[in-house]
């Protein structure tokens, strides 16, 4: 607020107390104006809340998926399916043979009976399975590679070697699944960023438009304030605070929505995790993310209001 009084001939002193009181006045007056038309304000705020909540929830989903993928023990695990008709001794022999290899750390033998029992327990097809004459499931060897950070190329070589073993029908690596999973995750992350960008723009436009309508409905007031010597900053201030309130309250609504949604999802997710013998828990919004969300939505609010005000302030002139 530095002024050069000599040059312009205007005396203008800056008094911090007056400045503060003017801001406090605009701060509460703008909140009061929102409260004076509660229905309209609430609807705008709900739209803002939903728009902010959408990318936020996607962000949380990606975070949770990442956590889930992190729970995966990094070692590549390979399922080796033996040919139909392989006998238990043959399978056990192959398991012993593979275990001796330096590039394999462990081999777990799952017999068709064990597999059937597990399938019966988890699939819910128990009764239907009784109709089968014989057990169609093969012997399976679950193999962990010795190198937990095995590269896809090395994994491929190992898979080829395993496939060539006598009696092996098929060798599949779970690694592929993890990689695909991470690939999907990356797409989701990118989509989240894009959605966040689009919806941030939407929030900016919604607030800008709301403030624009407010400016138009208070056109006379702005003209008269200009007439009696109100500066542009004075006129702009209440609208910027209005944008601030829209941002803050919209962000709060988004956080409440996310909180309610994760509360509703907590129980089913816990149930599903138990089915997978996992202790995975749905991660909610942490404090940093919440604070960041509020900060960003406030910035968007002020930004939206700023664009609307600078666009329209110049056009409203008392001379017309």
């Amino acid at each position: 607020m530095s002024r050069r009084p000599r040059k312009t001939g205007f005396r203008r002193s800056f008094r911090p107390a007056a400045w503060l009181s003017r801001h406090a006045q605009a701060f509460f007056a703008s909140l009061g104006r929102l409260a004076r038309r509660p229905l309209g304000s609430l609807m705008t705020l709900a739209v803002l809340g939903i728009a902010i909540a959408l990318p936020l929830s996607l962000h949380l989903l990606v975070n949770n998926l990442q956590q889930l993928a992190g729970n995966w023990d990094g070692a590549a695990s390979i399922s080796v399916f033996l040919k139909e008709g392989a006998t238990p001794p043959q399978a056990a022999e192959l398991a012993r043979h593979l275990k001796a290899r330096p590039d394999i750390s462990s081999v777990q033998h799952i017999t068709p009976e064990q597999a059937m029992a597990e399938f019966r327990q988890h699939s819910g097809f128990g009764d239907a399975l009784d109709l089968l004459d014989s057990n169609p499931l093969p012997h399976v060897l679950l193999i962990q590679a010795a190198d937990p950070n095995i590269s896809p190329q090395q994994l491929k070589i190992l898979l080829e070697t395993l496939k060539k073993q006598p009696g092996v029908e098929l060798a599949l690596a779970d690694m592929e699944w993890v990689q695909r999973f991470q690939g999907i995750n990356r797409i989701l992350q990118r989509a989240t960023a894009l959605l966040a960008l689009l919806l941030a723009l939407a929030v900016l436009l919604i607030i800008g438009n709301t403030v624009r309508l407010e400016i138009q409905s208070r056109r006379d007031e702005i003209e008269i304030i200009k007439l009696v010597g109100g500066s542009n900053a004075f006129i702009r201030r209440p609208f910027l605070y209005e944008g601030f309130w829209y941002g803050l309250l919209g962000g709060c609504i988004a956080i409440i929505l996310i909180g309610l949604a994760s509360l509703a999802l907590q129980e089913p997710v816990r149930h599903l995790a138990e089915l997978y013998q996992s202790n995975f828990r749905l991660g909610g919004l942490n404090l940093t993310t919440a604070a960041l969300t509020l900060g960003l939505s406030i910035l968007l609010g002020i930004g939206g209001a700023w664009t609307a005000v600078t666009q329209h302030l110049g056009r409203i002139d008392p001379s017309n």
Binding site: G9, I225, V228, G229, S319
Partner: protein
């Protein structure tokens, strides 16, 4: 206090405006501006209050060269010029008190000071009892006095009035003129546009006559 040097104001596609006006109003003068409608009275006031800028020539108000004024200095100039309009230009959803307080609020005057000065201004125009009323519940004359209180509440050195008695009966008009005379007596420079010659003759003040944008007469009392 107010000086016009060869000022012209043209509007595209219109014959109105001002043509090469030169005039000088000293501090503490009370000057009437008269002429037919369309003669340029309002334009001259608008150039003085910087509601519009001159097409040519220079306008000086309270030692400021308006031609050189940057747009962010416009509010500062308007704080030195109180303006009164025929249609009052009041905020209909605010009380009389809030309307009068506006020029003080925009400059950040303290609350107690605002209360004191608004009450003094309302007392001056005889509306102290109506401070809590809304403008539309008041009569035309009362609304005009609210407008006057607003124009003088910040004690500007210059007050401009555009047809301040336009819609008022003769009795009320004389009251308004008497108010202006009182402001003038405490040193305020006044420039009042009116077409009501019968009202200004008994005031015996300097009178500028405009005709088709030209200053045709500058009459000083004998």
């Amino acid at each position: 206090m107010i000086q016009f040097d060869n000022v012209s104001k043209t509007y595209p596609g219109s014959s109105g405006g001002l043509r090469e006006i030169s005039l000088h109003i000293e501090p503490g003068e009370m000057v009437f501006l008269t002429g037919h409608s369309g003669a340029g009275k309002s334009t001259l006031l608008k150039l003085t209050g910087l509601l519009e800028r001159a097409s040519r020539g220079q306008v000086w108000v309270n030692k400021h060269n308006l031609t050189r004024l940057k747009s962010r200095q416009v509010p500062l100039l308007r704080r030195e010029v109180g303006m009164i309009f025929q249609d009052h230009r009041l905020l209909t959803d605010r009380t009389v008190f809030d309307n009068v307080a506006l020029p003080l609020v925009v400059t950040g005057v303290k609350h107690q000071e605002i209360r004191r000065r608004v009450q003094a201004a309302l007392d001056k125009v005889g509306l102290l009892k109506k401070a809590r009323a809304l403008p539309l519940t008041l009569s035309g004359g009362e609304q005009q006095r609210v407008g006057i209180a607003r124009a003088v509440v910040s004690k500007p050195p210059i007050v401009l009035a555009d047809e301040p008695t336009g819609n008022l009966d003769p009795e009320l008009s004389r009251e308004i003129m008497e108010l202006f005379r009182q402001f003038n007596q405490v040193g305020v420079t006044l420039l009042i546009a009116t077409h009501d010659l019968g009202l200004i003759q008994p005031m015996e003040q300097r009178t500028l006559v405009l005709d088709q944008g030209r200053l045709v007469k500058d009459q000083r009392p004998a």
